[in-house]
Amino acid sequence: MIAYVRNIQDACASIFDGMAVTFSHLFRRPITVQYPDRIPRRIQETLPDRTRGHLEVDLDICISCRACEKACPIECIVIEDVRIPKDSVAGVDGKETARVKEPTRFDINLYKCMYCGLCVEPCPTGAIRFTKEFEGATDDLSRLHLRFVTPERREVVLRKGEGYEREQAEKARKKAEAAAKPEGGKQVDPPAAGEESKEGDKE
């Protein structure tokens, strides 16, 4: 009998307990925000620095080493490139690094991308990086297929590539000429071979 009464007492008390808790939440600050409007700033601006949003590529410092392509677990990065005459770019911390290739195609398939960040880590110059943009909803999938090399840029790079071809052809011609002259051959050969292997390492 006592247990029965206590049960009823408990049941009633728990109702008031519950109401008290719920009531106290009326006066707490809500944790949710009104997305996407009715917030003072765009949500992207409020995201932390490490946010893994859509990827972007700075082609001016990309050396086309393909580390990102290889690091991607699901092959959503596609790169095609050509050899160009050796120049240098300013990478992380503005440090100079040599460039012997430049992409003629750099595509990222954002609708396959899982934003894991494995491609950003190995990039030696910091060319591929995350933005804070995340709103990718679209009715047209091709808009998520990012092509970073524009047709105009591609033309420029291809011309550079042709320049490299000419340079090589010139070199080969000179080499052949030098080889024809028996006394000059040994002096020209070693530096050329040295440069080749160094470039080979960097690929």
């Binding site: 408990d10 946010t51 911390d93 934003y115 894991c116 030696p124």
Partner: protein, 563 residues
């Protein structure tokens, strides 16, 4: 029974069973197919290895010793204790079958079905040897090395599960007019993911339950064989997506074990903090969703507010809210960010308030108590036989916790308790999780206090990328950088099982390396696979609404269940 001891087993079985040397220090015994059952029974009954963790197979087709082709692996451990033993057995190629052990351990029932499904090894006298993860009409065995990963099959007919249901109902079809068949799931809000249970109802009482899984099977293990060891990390995020950082740690720890690497003290402590935050997140989801299942909706918001707070901290740390992909082999993706400490302090300050609110709402609530006390109860012996680990086993009163049994990352240096229940029912499972969150908070507070300085990546050329400044400066660092990216990390050849105490129980990874940069095999031991295998046992005889309450308390995460 005397405490589990491998030494005793070694001396007892000397001569009849061969111990194989293992490069990673695991105890591996090789049994002949004819002795297999005796060996396993003796391990269980006489030596205390009563918990069958996992059964899997290795396809040796591309390894040097390809005859016989398949190697079936049984992983055992005592329900309380640290030793672990693997028994391996090669069925002959012409027959490709072994005697079942599903009568010794109930866990073996589903485990053997999975081996059959993925590798085509048959188990004689198995009560129900049919596919489990793949579709019933699937042709071939996907984890065999000669099954092409790109191969596609068109499968459209759903399984009506009547073959199993008919067996359970028994008798002629006509006699069953009293009972009603009801499909719950696969797409049902109360089923917590794409799970399906076909139930046979008499009134509101569940007479038989036939669960079907595999709706979220995406071939994690096959995908893992495709890329490098690092490529697997983002895939592990998607196993238990409520606490993805725990899967990251579990996987990376196994690979580190193979490489013989111990993470730096700072990395270890950060991992402990994240593991415990992950456990809290997971338990918050589980408890909140379970309370919704029994009709206590408001708690969901109070608990999810706190989960949101943890997500904010983790987002600032690694850049993503759900799929963290934060742990790397040999270290972490980043060091802690400025403001992490304040974030964690905020969590530790606010979470107890939310837990207190929830406790006040439900602890004495008659409706809640009537819905959960004594519902879906299971005894400790049965739970162990089913392969339960984690909170579900602890709710039965077994203090099984890898953090205590086999302390890693300095867990033995923290002051905390293992929470155990008494009845093994839904109420205990909820309350074990509630109290575990409090214990996790204690660990987080202690870990934050002692957070050591130093680097987060180990100084090991085999796994860690050299600093960017060096990549420019010296050719050796450049070569090293590109070797790790292009060829991947290369653990020595061999087989290794590593595990951690994840939110749902023991999360194990059985990894086979052939010495190249690609994993030869990665097998996950998902804790909720075995927990869910007991679902018919937990629900049969109860009411249909109890089935929903029980399911919520098991915390089945389809991502890790189906892989």
């Amino acid at each position: 029974m005397s405490p589990p001891s491998l030494d005793r087993f070694r001396s007892r079985l000397a001569g009849t069973i061969r111990e194989e040397p293992n490069p990673f220090g695991d105890a591996v015994f090789r049994a002949e197919p004819s002795d297999l059952r005796d060996v396993l029974r003796s391990l269980r009954d006489e030596h205390g290895f009563d918990l069958l963790l996992d059964v899997t197979a290795v396809d040796h087709l591309e390894l040097p010793d390809s005859k016989p082709r398949f190697d079936v692996v049984y992983i055992l451990r005592p329900s309380v204790g640290s030793e672990r033993v693997r028994v391996q057995c090669r069925p002959p190629d012409e027959d490709l079958s072994l005697e079942t052990v599903s009568d010794l351990w109930k866990a073996a029932n589903w485990a053997e079905r999975e081996v059959y499904d993925q590798y085509g090894v048959r188990f004689r006298n198995h009560p129900n040897l049919k596919r489990i993860l793949n579709h019933k009409d699937f042709v071939g065995h996907p984890l065999r090395k000669d099954y092409d990963i790109k191969k596609q099959q068109w499968l459209s007919e759903p399984d009506d599960l009547m073959d199993e249901m008919r067996k359970l109902r028994g008798g002629a079809e006509g006699e069953e007019s009293e009972s009603v068949l009801l499909n719950i799931g696969p797409s049902h809000p109360a089923m917590h993911g794409a799970l399906r249970a076909l139930v046979d109802l008499e009134g509101e009482t569940v007479r038989h339950t036939v669960p079907e899984i595999g709706y979220l099977h995406r071939g994690f293990e096959k995908s893992a064989e495709k890329g490098t060891y690092t490529h697997v990390i983002p895939f592990t995020d998607r196993l238990n997506y409520c606490s993805s950082v725990m899967n990251n740690v579990g996987y990376c720890r196994t690979i580190e074990k193979m490489l013989g690497i111990e993470p730096t003290p700072r990395a270890q402590t950060i991992r402990v903090v994240l593991l415990e935050l992950g456990r809290i997140m997971d338990h918050l989801v589980s408890v909140a969703a379970n309370l919704v299942d029994v009709g206590a909706l408001t708690n969901y918001w109070y608990l999810f507010n706190e989960r949101e707070r943890i997500y904010d901290v983790i987002e600032a740390l690694c850049g993503a809210r759900l799929t963290h992909c934060y742990v790397r082999i040999g270290g972490l993706a980043h060091d802690l960010h400025a403001g992490f400490e304040e974030g964690v302090e905020g969590i530790l300050r606010e979470l107890p308030k939310a837990l207190a609110d929830v406790e006040r709402l439900v602890a004495r609530n008659r409706i809640f108590l009537d819905r959960v006390v004594g519902v879906g109860a299971i005894t400790a012996e049965e739970a162990i036989s089913h392969g339960f680990t984690g909170p579900c086993l602890r709710a039965c009163g077994v203090p099984n916790d890898l953090r205590k049994d086999e302390p890693y990352y300095g867990y033995d240096g923290y002051d905390w308790n293992v929470i155990v229940g008494t009845r093994g029912d839904t109420y205990d499972r909820i309350w074990v999780r509630m109290e575990e969150m409090r214990e996790s908070m204690r660990i987080v507070a202690q870990a934050m206090k002692k957070m050591p300085g130093g680097p987060v990546d180990v100084d090991d050329k085999r796994v860690s990328l050299p600093p960017k400044t060096e990549v420019y400066g010296n050719i050796e660092a450049l070569m090293n950088h590109f070797m790790i990216i292009m060829e991947g990390i290369k653990p020595p050849a061999g087989e290794c099982y590593g595990s951690i105490e994840a939110a749902n129980g023991e999360l194990g990874f059985f990894v086979v390396s052939d010495g190249t940069g690609k994993p030869y095999k990665v097998k996950v031991r998902p804790p909720c696979f075995y927990v869910f295998s007991a679902f018919p046992r937990l629900t049969e005889g109860g009411m249909i609404q109890d089935l929903i309450a029980t399911l919520g308390s098991l915390n089945i995460i389809a991502g890790e269940l189906d892989r």
